[in-house]
Symmetry: D2
Subunit: 312 residues, 4 copies
C-alpha cells in the first residue's frame, strides 16, 4: 500500500528529525513529578482504520496525559446528560490562558468551553453526579481502558497527590464556580476527580488507540464497536479544533489543520477524520503550554500526508 | 450523478424549508440601507469543482457583503506582505464581540485575528501601503471581480457613506490602533477603505463563485487558474473556521463543521475543501450577529451532504 | 456648650427622621443569620473628644460588624510589619465590586487595597504569621476590646460558621492569592480568621468608642493613651476615605465628606478628624452593599455639623 | 504671625530642598513642546485667605496646565447643567490608567469620573452645548482669567496643535463615547475644545490664585466674591481627592492628605480647605504620570503645616 509506505516513512523520518532538535521548549515544573521528566524523549503513534499502529521514538513510554484526559471526560459527560451539558459549559474559544479566572467573572461562573480548566471541572462535576470521587474515577478509568483496549492503564498517584497539594489556582476556579452554584458536588470531590484523571499515565500508542472512536465516526474503527454517535464524534472533534490548545488553538489550526488536544505533560492527541488517530509526545512546552516538538512533528506529518481538514 | 442529484434536491428542499420559517432573526438596522432590507428573502448557491452552480431562492439578489469582504482583503494582504502580516495581526479566536476594544488595550493595539473589525482595519492598512483609498479600493474590487469572474460587481455608495457617517466604533478602533503605531496610513484613509469594501454588493452566486479558490487548493477549480498556493488556501480556511463568526465561531464549527465567514448583511460564505464553495443569505441575524436562517440552512446542508470536515 | 447642644439635637432628629423612612434598602441574605435581622432598626452613636457618647435609636443593639472589622485588622497588621505591608497589598481604590477576582489576575495576586475582600485576607495572613487561627483571633478580639474599653465584645459563632460554609467566593480569592504565593499561611487558616473577625458583634456605641484613636491622632482621646502614631491614624483615615465603601467610595466622599468604612451587616464607622468618631447602623443595603439609611444619616449629620473634611 | 512665618520658611526650605534633588522623574515627551521643557525647574505658590501669595522657586514660570484644566471645566459644566452632569459621567475612582478604554466598554461609554480623559471629554461636550469650539474655549478662558484675576492667561497654540495631531488615544475615546451616544456634539469639536483647554499656560502663582474658590467655600477668599456654592466646592474637592491623580490617587491621599489635581505638564493644584490653595510644578513625572518632585514637596509641606484633612 503506497499510502501506508508513505506513512511509515514519514513517521520514521519525523521521529528522527525530532531527536536532533536542540530547542525543545521548557518542561512543566510546577510539580516535581513533571519537572523531572527527561526532555530528550519523543514519541509518535498513528493508528489507522484497520487498527494497525505505526510508531516512532518513545511511543511506548507512559507519560502524564494531563489535559488530554478532558477529551475522555467530555465524552463521558455528554454520555451522561447529553446536550444539556451546554447549559453548564460553553463551546467557544476563550481568548484567555487555560487557567484564567477573569472570563468566569464576566460570564457568571459558566466556563467558555470544556477544555479550559474551569470547563473540565464542570465535566468532573457532571460525572460525579452525587457519587464519591472513587466511583467517578473508576468510571473514567474503565472508559479509557475500554476505548484503548488496554486494562493496564492507571493513575500515577504521586502526580495526583502533588497536583492536589499545589493546585491552588484550580481550587480557586472550583470555589468560584461553586459560588455561582455552577457545581453540584462538594468542591473537594470535584477537585479530587479532576486532579486524578489528569494524572492518568498513558503512552502515545495507548492514546492513539483510545482516540479511534473520534477518527472513525464514533466507532473503534470502520467496522468496530460503536462508542458514540457519528454526530457526537464530529462535534467533539470540532471543539478540539477550536479550543484544544488554549490560547494557541488558532495557531494549531493554522499550522497543523487537524483537531487536537494538548496536555502540559507534553502529549498531543490528534484526529484525522476518517483516516487516523494520532498521538505525539515530547515533554518540552512552548509559551502557550503546548508541546513544542509535538506541534512541529504534527505540522510536518499533516503536510506530508495531506491530512489537513482544510484542503489538499 | 447521484451525488449531484442529492445536492440539487438538498438545495431545493432547504430553500423551501427556509421560506416557511417564521423566526428569522433581526435585520441589522444601524444604518437605514441595511435596516430596510426585506427579511423574507433567502438565497443559497453552491459551486462545484466543475464550475457548475446549484442555486436556490434569491441566489441572484445582490446584498451588502459586509464582513465577508474580509476574506478577500485577507487574501490580498497576505499576497502583499506574506507571513509578515502576522506581526500586525494575530490568528487566535477573540472570545469577545466583533467590535470590542478591550482586547486591543490588553494586547497593545495588535488585533487578535483578521476577522474582528480591528483586524480588518489592519488589513486595509496593509493594502493601502502608502496609496490613496481610491487605488486600494480599485485593487480590492479588481480582485473580487477576477475571482468571481464578474465585472459587474461594485460598491453600494449609499451604504458606504452611511457607514462612514455612523461608524464611530470603528473610528475608535482605528484611532486606538494608530495610538499604538499599529497603522501606517492616515486613520481616515484606513476607515475609508474599510467602509467601502464592506459596502460591496454581491449575490450568493457571485460570492460562491468568488470563493472557489478556497475550496479548490488555491485555484478557480481543480483545473482552473491559480490564485494562491494550496497552503495559503488551507490557512485562510483554518482562520475562517476558528474566527469566522465572531463570538459564535465555536458554535458554527460545532453545528456546521465547515469553514465560513459571516457578515451583518446576512450572508455567510462557506468552504467545503475539495468539494464546493457555498454562499447562503438571509438578512435576519442571531444574537451573535450571524444570519439566523443562513446558519440553519448550512447546518442542514452540511449534514445531508456529509460535508463536515470533522468526520462522516 | 452650643456645639454639643447642636449635636444632641442633630442626633435625635436624624434618628427620628430615619425611623420614618420606608425605602430602607435590602438586608443582606446570603446567610440566614444576616437575612433574619429586622430592617426597621436604626442606631447612631457619636463619641466626642471628652469621651462622651451621644446616641440615638438602637445604638446599643449589637450587630455583625462584618467588613468594619477590616479597619482594626489593618491597624494590627500595620503594627506587626509596618510599611512592608504595602508590598503585599496596595492602597488604591479598586474600581470593582468588593469581591471581584478580575483585578487579582491582572495584578498577579496583589490586592488593590486592604478593604476589598482579597486585601483583608492578606491582613489576616499577616496577623496569623505562623500561629494558629485561635491565637490570631484572640489577638484581634483583645485589640478591639482594648480600644472599645469593653470586655464584653465577642464573636457570633453562628454567623462565623455560616459564612465559612457558604464562603466560596472568598475561598476562591484565598486560593487564587495562594497560587501567586501571596499568602504564607494555609488557606483554611486565613479563611478561618477572616470569617470569624467579620462575625464579631458590636453596637454602634461600642464601635464609635473603638474608633476614637482614628479621630484623635492615634489616641483614645485628646488626652488618652496612645494606640498608634498620629501619622498612621491619618493614613488609615485616608484609606477609609478612598476605599472604604467599595465601588461607592467616591460617592460617599462626595456626599458625606468624611472617612468611613461600611459592612454588609449595615454598619458604617466614620471618623471626623479632631472632633468625633461616629457609628451608624441600619441593616438595609443599597446597590453598592452599603447601609442605605446609614449613608443618608451620615450625610445629614455631616452637613448639619459642618464636618466635611472638604470645607465649610 | 507665627503660622505665616512657619509657612514662609517651609516654602523657602522645600523649594531649596527640591532644587538639590537628582531623581526628578521623566518629562512627558509625547509632543515636542512638552519634551523640551527643562526638568531642573521647580515652582511652588501658596495663596492664603487674605489673598497673599507665598512663593518659591519658579513660581512665576508658565507651564502647560494639561489635566489641571479639568478642575475648571468641571466647575463650568456643573454650573451649566448642575447635578444632571452625573448622568453623563460618574464620580468613582477608576482603578485604571487615565486613558484606559477598557472601563468605557464595560460601562457602556459612561466615564467613571470627570478627571480621566474620557470624563473630561464629556465635560467639554457639556460646555460646547451646541456652540462652536471657539465659543466654548472663550468661555473656559474667561472663567479661568476671572478666578485667577489675570487677563494675561492664554492658550499655547503650539501645544494645542501638536496634541491634536498626535491625540489618537483621545480620538479613540471620543469616537467610542459617541458610538454610545454619550457625546452630543461632533467628535472633532469635542476634541478641539479638549486639546485647547489642556494647552492653557499658567504659572504656579496664577493657578494657586485661581483655585481660591475651592479652598474658601466657593469664594475668592473668606470675604471675596462668590464663584460657586460651598457645597459644590466641597464636592469638587472630594472628587479631586478620590480621583485627582489617576491610578495614584490613593497614594496621594495616603501621603499628602489633601485634595489635588495633577497634569502631565508637571503641575499639581492642591486645596487645603479653609486655609490655602496651593500649586506646585516640576516637569518630571513618576510612573503614574504625576509630578515626582511636586508630590514630594506637597507631602513635606502638608506634614510641616499640619494640613492633612485626615487629622493632626
Amino acid at each position: 500500500m503506497a499510502a501506508l509506505d508513505g506513512l511509515e516513512q514519514a513517521v520514521a523520518e519525523i521521529s528522527a528529525e525530532m531527536s536532533g532538535q536542540t530547542d525543545r521548549g521548557k518542561v512543566a515544573d510546577y510539580i516535581p513529578q513533571l519537572g523531572g521528566v527527561n526532555p530528550d524523549q519523543f514519541g509518535l503513534a498513528v493508528v489507522l482504520a484497520d487498527g494497525r499502529a505505526i510508531c516512532g521514538g518513545d511511543a511506548d513510554t507512559a507519560f502524564s496525559i494531563q489535559s488530554i484526559s478532558k477529551v475522555f471526560t467530555l465524552t463521558l459527560a455528554l454520555g451522561k446528560i447529553g446536550d444539556s451539558l451546554w447549559r453548564r459549559v460553553g463551546r467557544e474559544p476563550s481568548g484567555n490562558p487555560f487557567n484564567s479566572i477573569v472570563q468566569l467573572e464576566y460570564e457568571h461562573g459558566k466556563p467558555r468551553n470544556p477544555f479550559i480548566n474551569a470547563g473540565a471541572l464542570a465535566l468532573a462535576d457532571v460525572i460525579l453526579s452525587g457519587h464519591r470521587p472513587r466511583e467517578a474515577l473508576g468510571e473514567i478509568l474503565r472508559f479509557i481502558r475500554h476505548v484503548a483496549d488496554d486494562d493496564g492503564i492507571s493513575i500515577d498517584q504521586g502526580v495526583a497527590i502533588s497536583e492536589q497539594e499545589t493546585g491552588f489556582r484550580n481550587a480557586a476556579l472550583a470555589n468560584y464556580m461553586r459560588s455561582y452554584a455552577m457545581l453540584d458536588n462538594p468542591v473537594e470531590f470535584v477537585l479530587g476527580v479532576y486532579f486524578h484523571h489528569c494524572a492518568i499515565a498513558m503512552s502515545c500508542r495507548q492514546l492513539a488507540m483510545a482516540a479511534r472512536y473520534l477518527a472513525f465516526s464514533g466507532r473503534h474503527g470502520p467496522d468496530g464497536r460503536t462508542v458514540i454517535s457519528p454526530e457526537r464524534a464530529r462535534r467533539i472533534n470540532a471543539i478540539m479544533l477550536t479550543c484544544g490548545h488554549y490560547d494557541g488553538s488558532g495557531d494549531f489550526a493554522f499550522r497543523v489543520g487537524i483537531p487536537g488536544k494538548s496536555g502540559v505533560g507534553g502529549g498531543i492527541l490528534a484526529v484525522v477524520p476518517g483516516r487516523a488517530s494520532v498521538c505525539v509526545w515530547s515533554p518540552g512546552l512552548d509559551d502557550n503550554g503546548n508541546s513544542r516538538l509535538g506541534k512541529i512533528a504534527l505540522e510536518r506529518l499533516s503536510r506530508r500526508m495531506g491530512w489537513s481538514v482544510f484542503g489538499a
